[in-house]
């Protein structure tokens, strides 16, 4: 049994993969709580796809792909903030426009590059097994920065998300806080690209947070439970990937999904089964 657990991580690249997956599971789940609470799932998905042109450009220019992704993600986050700021365009419309435009630009650039390089397909679906030591340092540094910001801005994010009117009357700047949240989201997505890829980041942002919201009733607890689910999904997903020989990003996301399904049916009080039982009991009484 012990052998079964340790065997995958005898290899150096698997150790790096484990560290990267745990970091990503942690940071995505924590920030994902705000994504769930503020109904930003669409935004998260759009932001993830919108980094594609940056990655393609970085690839063509021969610079680090993550750097390209980081720059585009920040630009798109600021762009969405700018378009919706004046209220002339609805937020989901602005997201839809920028999302499709950036994705098309990315496809255009990639197809003009001639060959679909393996690096680029890895960006689409993630390649946690190919994480280098340099990548790991970059990922770890960015993730630590995001988590620190979430901790320092806890009260500001809570006020701006729950009651921007109160935030205003207390002399805070909720719009600025929400822009900061967009930037943190962009950073988180870039951190996650190599592990789960553009296509699956949104799932990792939303699913653990949604699961935790079924199991908890206060924000700090929700964040802690989401983090635990995110990290556990990453670890379990990697084992599945190793022993079943399937894509690691997909295995991680599906593990998180399984946790959500269990919570959806069996969560105390809010789960479907629990509520049905309550109804039956109430009907009998």
């Amino acid at each position: 049994m012990i052998d079964w657990l340790t065997e995958p991580f005898a290899l150096a690249f698997m150790q790096r993969a484990l560290v990267a997956a745990v970091i990503v599971g942690l940071v995505c789940s924590v920030l994902g709580c705000y994504v769930v609470l503020r109904s930003m799932a669409f935004l998260g998905d759009a932001l993830a796809h919108a980094v594609l042109p940056g990655i393609a450009l970085a690839y063509l220019a021969g610079v680090d792909l993550l750097l390209g992704a980081l720059v585009t993600a920040l630009l798109v986050a600021l762009g969405i903030g700018f378009l919706t700021r004046h209220g002339t365009v609805r937020e989901d419309t602005a997201i839809g426009i920028l999302f499709a435009a950036a994705l098309s630009l990315g496809v255009l650039l990639i197809s003009s590059a001639g060959s679909y390089a393996t690096d680029l397909t890895h960006i689409l679906f993630g390649d946690v097994l190919g994480v280098s030591t340099t990548d790991l340092w970059l990922t770890g540094g960015l993730a630590a920065g995001v988590l620190l910001a979430v901790a320092l801005l806890y009260r500001e994010l809570l006020l701006a998300s729950f009651d921007p009117v109160l935030a205003h009357t207390l002399g805070r700047r909720p719009r600025l806080v929400l822009l900061a949240l967009l930037l943190l989201l962009a950073l988180t997505i870039v951190v996650s690209l190599q592990t789960v890829g553009v296509g699956l980041v949104a799932a990792l942002l939303v699913t653990p947070g949604a699961t935790a919201s079924l199991l908890t009733r206060r924000l700090p607890a929700m964040m802690a439970v989401a983090a635990a689910i995110g990290v556990a999904s990453s670890v379990v997903g990697l084992y599945l990937s190793y022993y079943l020989d399937v894509a690691s990003g997909a295995a991680i996301v599906l593990t998180a999904t399984a946790a959500f399904v269990v919570a959806f049916f069996f969560a105390p009080r809010r789960g479907l089964v629990w509520r049905r039982l309550g109804e039956t009991r109430a009907a009998r009484a």
Binding site: L37, L152, L153, R155, E156, L158, L159, S161, F162, D163, V165, L166, H168, T169, L170, G171, S213, T216, R217, R218, L219, A221, M222
Partner: protein, 291 residues
Amino acid sequence: MKAMLVVEGLTVRYDGSAALDDVSLEVPHGAQVAIVGPNGAGKSTLFKAMVGLLRPQRGRVLVHGRAPGDQTDPVAYVPQREEIDWRFPVTVADVVMMGRFGRLGALRRPQAADREAVAKALDELSIAHLARRPIGELSGGQQQRVFLARALAQEPHVLLLDEPFTGVDATAKEALLGLLEALRADDITVLVSTHDMNTAATRFELAALLNRRLVAYGAPDAVFTREHIGAAYGGQALFVGGAVVVDQCCPGHEGDGAGHDHAEHHGHGVAPDRAGSNGGHGHGTAGRRAP
């Protein structure tokens, strides 16, 4: 007595049309004022401008002779209930503690004084037993009390309540009026917007009749006269015997613009016709609800 809350020539425009036009008010320390007016009269706009949610084109608001922004928690504002996501994972105690964030800033941990202020506010509104409950599990009346408690936890000098009597039952309304009575002991200046002219006339020492501009301000007897009500409500006011019936079901004009004023204004407001009863024509129905 020295006025502690001064509104000077406040003018707010939305897209060129005036929501508030040159409104000036002086409220004495600890006074309780009812702000009455028809749909789109600018009641919510007045409050939002007073707490800095809207920037007025002209005019200013002074608390103790200074701008509210220069002080910690001078003005607490309880908006209408629809503006909150009730599924948010916060408990009653969490929400009331938010009233202390102005003093705590971004990072300082709550001190004993903060916890005491929260406990006191929960007690005053009789919701201490709900402290650990998620806000989504509360009834409408309880939810309103949570936000009142939060405003009290701010320990404000001025309390603004936007339409607190709308959508609450008679018991909850009496409880709220009882709380306002208790607040007199704390010398908190209170402004309440309402279209319940009857309550305004009988339970507040000062009333302001607003319709974009200030139609009348002072003691209710002097404010709710036939001419003033006619001027504020125009064709919506109907004088029947000794009572005024104000038809508010079909607003012609939504001047508040911010989109928060749609749910509040449906129904019929009834108020005593002060001019009529002073003239000796009281039919014993003044101020009762119209059939």
